[in-house]
């Protein structure tokens, strides 16, 4: 059987700079996997290559046997690979509920014209989307805020809304771009629970993250990047004791200061 997600030999160059160099790894269905690395390691670039927001220079990404790299982003979403964004990327002037309803786009049965004419199919879509949106908002702990304008939400809730938008597309694989960035410890722990919630709905999760404590807590497997190259892969315990990873994060071991 084909791998759920396979990244093979993916390289991306920006002019002379090699942002991601020949990176390969697989994601298994149903797991939470994380890509970590120091600043500038190429995490974000790799992330964009997987969801095809950037084109690869070499190599390819396959999802359930099908090549998804270099397709238009909306096609990749249609195939079941959906991303979220760093920071507060939501539809600001819509209500929280409308944000999630519009994100049901891929589940639309009615045509655009059908929506315009409010056909029977469009009405049943709208009712179904609304119900599903309320269910997703409840899972994400946003039920009480459904009628608020999205731009009025505090940071932590915005992340939850971002994930809710991602979930509404019914993805098989959800890519989370630094879901814990800029959060305090308590918020991070809440967000960790949300990511688990997402996985428990049957969605495989691949995240790119900075926050080591959260990553160690949440991930089943970790890939470590440094200077665009994969330097390690394994369980959190393996990664924590991996010398190359420690070097990358803390600098080269120096006996003279007794590290």
């Amino acid at each position: 059987m084909a791998e759920f997600l396979s990244v093979s030999g993916v390289t991306r160059r920006f002019g002379g700079l090699v942002a991601v160099n020949n990176v390969s790894f697989n994601v298994r269905e149903g797991e939470i996997m994380t890509v970590i690395g120091p600043n500038g390691a190429g995490k974000s670039t790799l992330f964009k290559l997987i969801c095809s927001f950037l084109r690869t220079t070499e190599g390819e990404v396959r999802f359930r046997g099908e090549k998804i790299s270099d397709l238009a982003p909306h096609i990749v979403a249609r195939k079941g690979v959906v991303r979220t964004f760093q920071e507060a990327t939501i539809f600001k002037t819509m209500t929280v509920r409308d944000n999630v309803i519009v994100a049901h786009h891929l589940r639309s049965k009615a045509s655009l014209f059908g929506y315009f004419l409010n056909s029977a199919l469009a009405r049943s879509d709208n009712a179904a989307f609304r119900e599903s949106a309320d269910e997703i908002l409840a899972t994400m702990g946003l039920s009480g805020l459904a009628d608020e304008l999205a731009m009025s939400l505090p940071q932590g809730h915005l992340r939850a809304l971002g994930m809710a938008i991602g979930l509404a597309s019914n993805p098989m694989l959800l890519l989370l771009d630094e879901p814990f960035a800029g959060m305090n410890h308590e918020e991070t722990m809440q967000a960790v629970d949300l990511v688990r919630c997402v996985r428990d709905r049957g969605v495989t999760v691949l995240l790119v993250e900075h926050d080591m404590s959260a990553v160690m807590k949440i991930s089943e497997r970790i890939v470590v990047l440094n200077f665009g190259e994969k330097i390690a892969q394994g369980t959190p315990a393996e990664i924590q004791s991996n010398e190359r990873v420690i070097e990358a994060y803390l600098g080269v071991e120096d006996d003279s200061i007794g590290l």
Binding site: T84, T95, D98, V102
Partner: protein, 330 residues
């Protein structure tokens, strides 16, 4: 009906009644038939501005609608003069021709955002004008004149609309034509904003990357909105040609394109009926300042700047807040 509050329905019926019954009555009683011509112009400009509003709605500053009004005008004029096509057929063809051209132009330029798209769209009117000057079929700077009036529209032997040449009150006839089309245009735009399509447009306006990530084909949606927008520009232009029975390369200029955009700003970008009000106020505001002669443009511009400072969300932001909160999917 669909997603309309009782209050909204009553005010729409009242609005239509005023436009189709009270205004014609008042104009006829005042004996100032020229007012029909003025109001017809407002209605047609409002149709073209409604198109511009739609491009704003997907997050593009469109300063090129004059190009499509000019194109629509020439297409209908050429069809009627050179090919003897009836006005009632030439009108939709003109709109569709504009849509097709806008798709071809839009595919590359709609990738640009913000001021870059605005600047590119600004060039379009000039390009269309130069084309009209250069092409043999448009008769160059001499323009096309003696364009026939709209003939009768018959369907299965039933005369729906009489031959305009036989109508005594021609100005009133054109007023009705323009106003009915304007009402249809804004009813369509209103329905669009209240449907899932509206939500999709707003999603594009707010964040195209996020839109794409939830599976929306942003390139296709942008082009679709632009095609509808240009269709409306073309329809407006074609009716102008029918009224004046002539068209010149200078019939629609860059100034008109800028005005279409200003109409949207003035009325309020957040309100679908904004451009209609904006067109009315801008058109009459300009005329009212006629007596100030040399200072007309100075005063006019100063008032516009002041309005944008005081009411950045347009005139309708004064009272339509409740209506705007209704959301989509009604």
């Amino acid at each position: 009906m669909i997603g309309m509050s009782r209050q909204f329905m009553l005010s729409s019926i009242l609005f239509v009644f005023v436009l189709l019954v009270l205004v014609p009555l008042a104009v006829n009683m005042s004996g100032r038939q020229d007012l029909f011509y003025t109001l017809t112009s407002v209605a047609l400009l409002a149709i073209a501005s409604g198109g511009v509003w739609l491009t704003f709605y997907i997050g593009r500053i469109n300063i090129g609608q004059g190009a499509f009004s000019l194109l629509g005008g020439y297409v209908s004029a050429i069809l009627m003069v050179h090919y003897g096509v009836s006005f009632w057929l030439a009108l939709p063809i003109a709109g569709i021709a504009c849509s097709i051209v806008s798709v071809l132009i839009g595919l590359p330029i709609l990738r640009l955002r913000g001021v870059y798209f605005a600047m590119t769209s600004l060039v379009l009117t000039q390009v269309m004008q130069l084309l009209a000057l250069a092409l043999p079929i448009t008769n160059g700077a001499k323009g096309m004149v003696s364009i026939p009036l709209p003939g009768a529209l018959t369907l299965f032997g039933v005369t729906l609309i009489p031959d305009f040449a036989t109508i005594g009150n021609l100005k009133q006839a054109f007023y009705f034509l323009a106003v009915v089309l304007m009402i249809a245009c804004y009813a369509g735009l209103y329905r669009l904003t209240r449907s899932r399509l509206g939500a999709i447009c707003v999603s594009l306006q707010q964040n195209e990357e996020l839109s794409a990530s939830i599976g929306i084909n942003i390139a296709a949606m942008r082009v679709l909105a632009y095609a509808v927008s240009s269709f409306l520009g073309g329809i407006g232009g074609a009716i102008f040609v029918a009224i004046s029975q002539s068209i010149y390369p200078s019939s629609f200029t860059v100034t008109d394109s800028v005005n279409f955009m200003l109409n949207c700003f003035l009325g309020g970008l957040g309100y679908v009926f904004g451009p209609m009000l904006g067109t009315l106020v801008l058109y009459f505001g300009w005329d009212l300042l006629y007596r100030t002669a040399d200072y007309q443009l100075l005063i006019f511009s100063s008032i516009l700047i002041a309005l944008m400072l005081v009411l950045p969300n347009g005139l309708l932001s004064l009272r339509l807040k409740a209506l705007a909160k209704g959301g989509h999917y009604g």
